[in-house]
């Protein structure tokens, strides 16, 4: 995988819609590592066979990891110190 092998945060919208009732990609998150605040859609998404890793577009640290299996979705959000969701944004 090279540094170019990533997508925008937009690409995580489908998987995250399994868990959240609102569109998380248009929510604003704060990177727990560098403090950058940005909509999730501008983060970098690295998909893999099991789900995806979302990294901060500024410092590159992991914001979110989502793993999807047949019967479950697991999401690790520890790289986000907060997430500001607009309730009107449909997933």
């Amino acid at each position: 995988m090279t540094d170019q092998d990533y997508l925008d945060g937009n690409a995580a919208a489908g998987l995250l819609s399994e868990v959240f009732a609102v569109d998380i990609t248009s929510a604003v998150g704060r990177c727990a590592s560098c403090g950058d605040e940005a909509v999730v859609a501008v983060a970098r998404v690295y998909p893999n066979d099991h789900g995806l890793v979302v990294r901060c577009s500024v410092c590159g640290d992991v914001l979110l990891v989502a793993v999807e299996e047949r019967e479950r979705v697991c999401i690790d959000l520890r790289g986000l110190s907060w997430l500001e969701v607009r309730p009107g944004a449909t997933a």
């Binding site: 092998d5 997508l7 690409a11 919208a13 489908g14 998987l15 399994e18 990609t25 909509v39 997933a91």
Partner: protein
């Protein structure tokens, strides 16, 4: 899990180019979509192996149907089936439409500059169609960087949208490998100078929707920022040779 997956019927299909096909899907329960959204498509092999890819919506339709345009990638797991294999009457699993950021809403009257690299034109076409369907007075421009005349999607419809008196669209092509006969400039990659002459100026405070391969998006968004455009008004969607595009 996966309550979000629904079975869609393929109700129509047509080729846009020799390697790109538009599929019209009917999704029970769907009531419209936003311009710029995408859906995830899931295929399941007889042995249970599943592959999921994201495809942008090309249409701007109000009901339970939408259209995707899929470019075939020779080494793709999903796109060869969607371009060559699936037939009208077949079914595919879809999740979405999703995405609330890379979208254009008809109530937004801000000038819009669309910039497409190759098949990145797909979600921008949805915006152009929505703009026309809403008879929006918002100034709309499309700069379409494409390899050759044969690679252009939606050419006739783009020409028709440009003539739409209620909601005109300005369309400008940049041919990167082969230009049509008589084209005023030789084929070549988009440059900062061409971008500056084709795009709405920073004084118009346009919103940019930029979609293409990662290198294209990175380069063009850098030029826009250098030209004084507000980074918060530059919305990008990139596809790579991985996950979302194959």
């Amino acid at each position: 899990m996966s309550t979000a997956w629904r079975v869609a019927d393929v109700v129509a299909a047509r080729f846009e180019t020799p390697t790109a096909r538009t599929l019209r899907l009917r999704i029970p329960g769907l009531s419209g979509h936003l311009a710029g959204q995408h859906v995830d498509v899931r295929l399941t092999a007889p042995d249970g192996y599943q592959a999921v890819r994201s495809y942008s919506i090309a249409s701007a339709l109000p009901g339970d149907e939408l259209e995707l345009t899929v470019e075939e990638l020779a080494d793709g797991e999903v796109s060869p089936y969607l371009v060559r294999g699936v037939m009208v009457g077949d079914q595919v699993e879809v999740r979405g439409p999703v995405g609330g950021w890379f979208v254009w809403r008809p109530g937004d009257l801000t000038p819009v500059q669309l910039i497409a690299g190759g098949s990145g034109v797909v979600p921008l076409m949805s915006m152009a169609r929505a703009h026309s369907a809403a008879a929006s007075p918002a100034p709309f421009r499309l700069l379409y960087s494409v390899r050759s005349p044969e690679s252009v999607y939606y050419r006739d419809e783009l020409a028709a949208l440009a003539r739409d008196a209620a909601a005109p669209l300005s369309v400008e092509y940049v041919y990167t490998r082969t230009a049509p006969a008589g084209w005023p400039v030789p084929a070549g990659r988009l440059t900062a100078a061409v971008l500056a002459s084709a795009a709405l100026p920073a004084s118009a405070s346009p919103t940019f929707f930029l979609c293409g391969a990662t290198a294209f998006v990175e380069t063009v968004s850098g030029w826009l920022v250098d030209a004084g455009h507000d980074p918060s008004r530059i919305k990008t969607e990139r596809y790579g040779g991985i996950g979302g595009a194959s």
